[in-house]
């Protein structure tokens, strides 16, 4: 396998030029990629091209329509060498015949690399909220005071950003003689500010069922567990019940997940593996079945439950409940967490 600065594609495996476009959400992006590869093929008459689309967010029907349009727009000697490949479980669909097992493995390696490299870059956020959430978590768990260095290492933000955040929180911060810090009490004002921007700080994405036959949330959770991902944890009502089994809520309207993205890159392709019937929705029009939030800091502090599921920390679960407008349950969880903290004194 060689890198292909000369051909302008992501890799070259055998006779195949390989271009990976992860998480394509729009037809325009798909069309651009097809046109670019068609140009390359026109320049390389002895080569095939594989346009690989991991985590494709466009429906199969739209993909087939684009493919049909390409067939009409380009000469057959181009289109017969251009293959659109999508992920199907652990496998790849749409590969031309004659791809060897080892080439297939190399392709998967390229996809992994390119997805990591090109996965969706998340917008920059105010590090203050990341540090606030960390201090809150430490306070709720009644952990000892922490140093600025620990905050910097754990959050992934620089020392000046940490210092600025501590300064901004000055009224709520207790400074110790050894320069360690902790929250004095639950900072209700700062918490309210965090709630107001929670969906932006956590880059929340909502998915709705488009099948008319929604999968149960338990089924989605089981499928998530089967993916065995250490970077995705369950939050929301399920997470809250992990920390507070007596929470006054039967069932849950949606599944909240927290995705650990310490490098600021997010790949949502796993959602299609949970259920091909989930599609992103904007705004409150359709009720969300699945909601994915991002956790930016270096350490996830995910907690493994007795059934094997990973759970997001209690602060993320609280934010999930607020975002889901489950205010009474959020208050109940918060009071329980504060109560547990006080009992350990």
């Amino acid at each position: 396998m060689k890198s292909t600065y000369d051909t302008g594609t992501d890799a070259e495996i055998g006779r195949h030029l390989v271009e990976v476009k992860a998480g394509v959400q729009s037809i325009r992006t798909l069309r651009d990629a097809i046109i670019n590869l068609a140009y390359r093929l026109a320049e390389s008459p002895s080569r095939n091209a594989l346009l690989i689309l991991p985590g494709l967010q466009v429906s199969q029907k739209r993909l087939a329509e684009e493919q049909a349009k390409a067939l009409r727009a380009f000469r057959p000697e181009i289109t017969r060498r251009l293959h659109l490949v999508v992920e199907e479980g652990d496998d790849l669909r749409g590969l031309p015949a004659g791809i060897s097992r080892s080439d297939k493995q190399r392709l998967k390696d390229v996809i992994k690399q390119e997805t990591l490299r090109h996965g969706e870059r998340l917008p920059r956020i105010d590090g203050y909220f990341v540090i606030l959430k960390l201090l809150l978590l430490e306070w709720l768990k009644k952990k000892p005071p922490v140093t600025a260095k620990w905050l910097s290492e754990t959050s992934g933000y620089s020392y000046p950003t940490v210092a600025k955040a501590i300064s901004r929180l000055s009224d709520s911060i207790r400074r110790h003689s050894d320069r360690r810090v902790e929250l004095r009490s639950f900072p209700r004002g700062e918490w309210a500010r965090l709630l107001a921007v929670s969906d932006q700080v956590r880059s929340t994405v909502c998915f709705a069922d488009v099948s008319g036959q929604p999968r149960s949330l338990e089924s989605l959770m089981r499928r998530l567990q089967e993916l065995n991902r250490a970077d995705i944890a369950v939050g929301g009502v399920y997470g809250a019940k992990h920390y507070h089994p007596e929470l006054d809520l039967v069932g849950s309207p949606r599944l909240d997940l927290t995705m650990h993205c310490p490098h600021g890159m997010r790949d949502l392709s796993f959602v299609k593996r949970l259920d091909p019937g989930l599609e992103t929705v904007d705004g409150p029009g359709r009720p969300a079945r699945l909601v994915v939030h991002v956790l930016r800091r270096k350490e996830s502090f995910f907690e493994r439950g007795s059934g094997g599921s990973l759970f997001a920390d209690p602060v993320e679960c609280l934010l999930d409940l607020h975002e889901a407008r489950l205010e009474p349950q959020a208050l109940e969880l918060l009071n329980m967490l504060i109560g547990s903290r006080e009992q350990t004194q």
């Binding site: 029907k61 049909a68 496998d91 099948s211 008319g212 149960s216």
Partner: protein, 298 residues
């Protein structure tokens, strides 16, 4: 096609056929699906006209076919006279030119039963076996994957059996590893439909009605394949999803499959084409891929 009640038809067939052979009958197709999914909702009927009855095991199929057909004709059931070979043959008629046993009940032309059988072995392909009835010679058709359709059927309260939805789905998948050009003789909603699209559409409709139960399909599919095709089950498992994949990626073919579903098993459910596409994708994920993985690992 007519709207028929699965329960009523099964009861009528069970009453009419010789009791000694009741347990040799496995009903397949829409009626069996209707019995499985709608039997607790009597208002839901099935849109079909042919009631396909597999006679098995193969060893008794001819004896059962002769006894059942003779008795029904004696009771006034009427042979259906459509298609290229409508009249009973004689001892000199080639097997391939014999009419199948297709009989309307005495008081209705809304539906008819057709007799079929399973292959003798895993290598037998499509074939016709002669049935010498009192009224002349008929043929008993056998198709390669009917042994899968008739695998481990469900016994009904009427004494005969109905095929399991997942087994009918697998038989259809195996029957259509590609989208063939052959079309159905009749029109669906005014459209000429490819047989593959109709049969693969049926697979998706069965998956839709089975919902999350499709997750249990790979294991039972593997058992059925190993039992019916002991030496070739892996190859069959690995290509079972090929036709479905083509269908899901072809807008034109999928649209035909959708029409057959909304005019058939899913007529009462208001499913959209996009929703049915999701059902197909889920089926790939939950049943086809695990079956392929099982075949690769075994």
């Amino acid at each position: 096609m007519s709207d028929v009640s699965p329960e009523q038809v099964l009861r009528e067939v069970a009453r009419a056929v010789p009791h000694d052979f009741l347990e040799n009958i496995v009903v397949i197709g829409s009626l069996a699906a209707g019995y499985h999914f709608f039997r607790n909702e009597p208002s839901l009927q099935v849109r079909t006209k042919d009631i396909d009855c597999i006679l098995r095991p193969r060893l008794v199929a001819v004896e059962a076919g002769v006894a059942i057909a003779n008795q029904l004709i004696r009771m006034g059931w009427i042979p259906r006279k459509e298609g290229p070979f409508t009249e009973p043959g004689t001892s000199i008629t080639p097997d391939s030119e014999l009419p199948a046993v297709r009989l309307y009940p005495p008081d209705s032309v809304a539906w008819f039963i057709e007799l079929l059988t399973v292959p003798r072995s895993e290598v037998e392909g499509d074939s016709w076996t002669r049935l010498e009835l009192d009224s002349g010679h008929y043929g008993l058709p056998c198709f390669r994957f009917l042994s899968i359709a008739a695998y481990n059927p469900v016994k009904t309260e009427f004494g005969l059996y109905c095929a399991r939805p997942e087994m009918m789905a697998l038989a259809n998948l195996l029957e259509h590893p590609v989208i063939g050009e052959q079309t159905m003789s009749g029109l669906f909603a005014g459209r000429r439909i490819k047989r593959s699209n109709k049969d693969l559409g049926r697979v998706i409709a069965l998956a839709r009605l089975s919902n999350d139960e499709t997750e249990t399909w790979p294991a039972v599919w593997k058992d059925a394949l190993m039992a019916c095709f002991p030496t070739m089950w892996r190859e069959l498992a690995l290509c079972a999803g090929n036709g479905l994949r083509v269908l899901l990626n072809s807008h034109e073919d999928f649209s035909e499959a959708f029409v057959t579903c909304t005019n058939g098993l899913l007529a009462h459910y208001g499913v959209t084409e996009d929703q049915l596409q999701v059902t197909g994708q889920r089926l790939l994920q939950d049943a086809i891929l695990p079956l392929e993985r099982a075949a690769e690992m075994d």
